[in-house]
């Protein structure tokens, strides 16, 4: 199981706590984690990545194991600690005022 931490607005939307776990079939990559997340929580479709292009929304970042993974290719394997459920995969919203 992969642990995913969500920003507060998406927690509210999905009616979950700060962290959810998702079952990922096959290799654990950005694409497979987000696919699994959206399958478990369809309301999140379009909120993290564009529904048509599947591009990451520009004001969101992906962090794990103290690394910024936002610019990784979608099919590159995520760190082993994420795949093993030791470390969470973080979806982070850009901080801004207003």
């Amino acid at each position: 199981m992969v642990r995913v931490e969500l920003p507060v607005h998406l927690r509210t939307l999905a009616r979950v706590g700060s962290e959810v776990t998702v079952h990922v079939e096959g290799e654990v990559t950005l694409r497979s984690v987000l696919d699994a997340l959206e399958t478990s929580y369809p309301v999140l479709r379009g909120t993290i990545r564009d529904q048509i292009t599947l591009q990451r929304r520009p004001f969101l970042r992906f962090f794990a194991c103290e690394e910024d993974l936002s610019h990784e290719q979608p099919d590159v394997p995520l760190p082993g600690a994420v795949a093993a459920g030791v470390e969470p995969f973080l979806v982070v919203g850009a901080m801004a005022g207003g």
Binding site: H9, L13, R45, G46, I48, I52, F59, L60, G93
Partner: protein
């Protein structure tokens, strides 16, 4: 006795304001979707407890919410707005071709007869329709594929389709408006569209009387007389008596003919309301006085309505979707400001008072008249 329900979209959430027919004591519910921009909230004329809301954010994109209990509880529904086919390009601000890119839903217009059918006006400008209660959306591509589509340019707020009027007398006829392309009409349920901008004059475009390119801010009609349209343009208040085929200016004695909202009295088709503001960049009321102007003559002759509105040091704006009129007798008129006030008049504009004073900036106001 009837009741009213005012649906308010703001920069930071939605609010539902309710009162009995006297419209003096108000209950305020919300914020719903706190922290999200709510561009528009509108109820179905066929089932007033069915309400749709456009929820969005720069971080998380576009969502659509649906309520089946008059706004007490909400359910996220479909938010996939895919342009039909290969979208092509429109003109960017610098005149270069720019791909059509979905940004947000500006306006939701539920069908007059079917609660599950709802239209969405989006940025970049296109018209979508759902027939399954907003679970799925399909573009009506005939509008965007109009011969002029590749020449449409955005206004300062983006290339947005912000006005959708459904003709109560002819279900195949609709009117829409786009900033800054202009107004369009379909007579075949959205398959084909015709620009209806003859008579408009816009000094800010190369050809002031061009077929398209006008920054129309809002169009309104009275449901008993759908061939008569009133328009608040970027400058000029306009009137058409032939379903948009031609327009004439009716700005008359207004202190400024710039503004955003325009609406029509519920029982007097020749009575029209606007809120003049200064422009091109100030976008606040002239002289710091918040005044609604009413014409009882279908335009040209306007009277100021000030009783209960601030008449000094007021520098708010009233956006295009932020005025609404109920159908009680006397009809109620409502508008919201960028300062967070929602004002109501229970006597067709004679006297005003704030329902709330301190909401986030108001983006939209709609009202439902409900039977008890």
């Amino acid at each position: 006795m009837s009741r009213v329900r005012v649906l308010v979209g703001t920069r930071k959430g939605a609010f539902v304001l309710t009162a009995d027919g006297a419209r003096k004591q108000w209950n305020v519910a919300g914020p719903f979707f706190g922290g999200w921009e709510i561009y528009h909230v509108k109820g179905s004329p066929a089932d007033p407890d069915r309400i749709y809301a456009s929820q969005g954010s720069g971080w998380f994109g576009q969502l659509i919410q649906k309520s089946d209990d008059g706004g007490e509880t909400w359910e996220p529904v479909g938010n996939k707005f895919a342009y039909d086919g290969v979208p092509g390009t429109h003109q960017w601000y610098d005149g270069t071709p720019h791909p059509w890119e979905f940004a947000r839903v500006w306006h939701l217009e539920p069908s007059l007869s079917d609660p599950d059918t709802v239209y969405a006006g989006v940025q970049d400008a296109a018209l979508f329709r759902s027939t399954d209660g907003a679970q799925t959306w399909q573009e009506l591509p005939g509008l965007r594929n109009h011969d002029s589509g590749a020449r449409w340019q955005p206004g300062a707020g983006g290339l947005c389709l912000h006005t959708i009027l459904l003709d109560p007398a002819d279900p195949r006829r609709m009117f829409i408006a786009i900033s800054a392309a202009g107004a369009f009409r379909t007579d075949d349920a959205g398959a084909t569209w015709k620009p209806i901008n003859r008579g408009l004059k816009s000094q800010g475009i190369p050809q002031p009387e061009a077929e398209v390119g006008h920054c129309v801010h809002r169009i309104a009609m009275h449901r008993s007389r759908p061939n008569v349209l009133f328009m608040q343009k970027h400058w000029d208040v306009m009137r058409s008596d032939d379903a948009g085929d031609s327009w004439r200016e009716v700005s008359g004695n207004l202190p400024s003919d710039f503004g955003f909202p325009i609406d029509v009295h519920a029982h007097e088709p020749e009575t029209v309301y606007v809120v003049p503001i200064k422009s091109d960049s100030e976008h606040f009321p002239p002289d710091g006085k918040l005044r609604v102007y009413r014409s009882r003559t279908g335009g040209d002759e306007w009277e100021e309505l000030t009783n209960g509105l601030p008449q000094r040091d007021c520098y708010v704006n009233v956006l295009r979707d932020a005025m609404a009129i109920d159908s009680l007798d006397a009809c109620g008129v409502y508008f919201g400001t960028t300062g967070g006030q929602v004002y109501a008049s229970a006597d067709a504009g004679g006297h005003w008072s704030p329902i709330v004073r301190d909401l986030p900036a108001v983006l939209s106001v709609e009202v439902q008249t409900l039977a008890d």
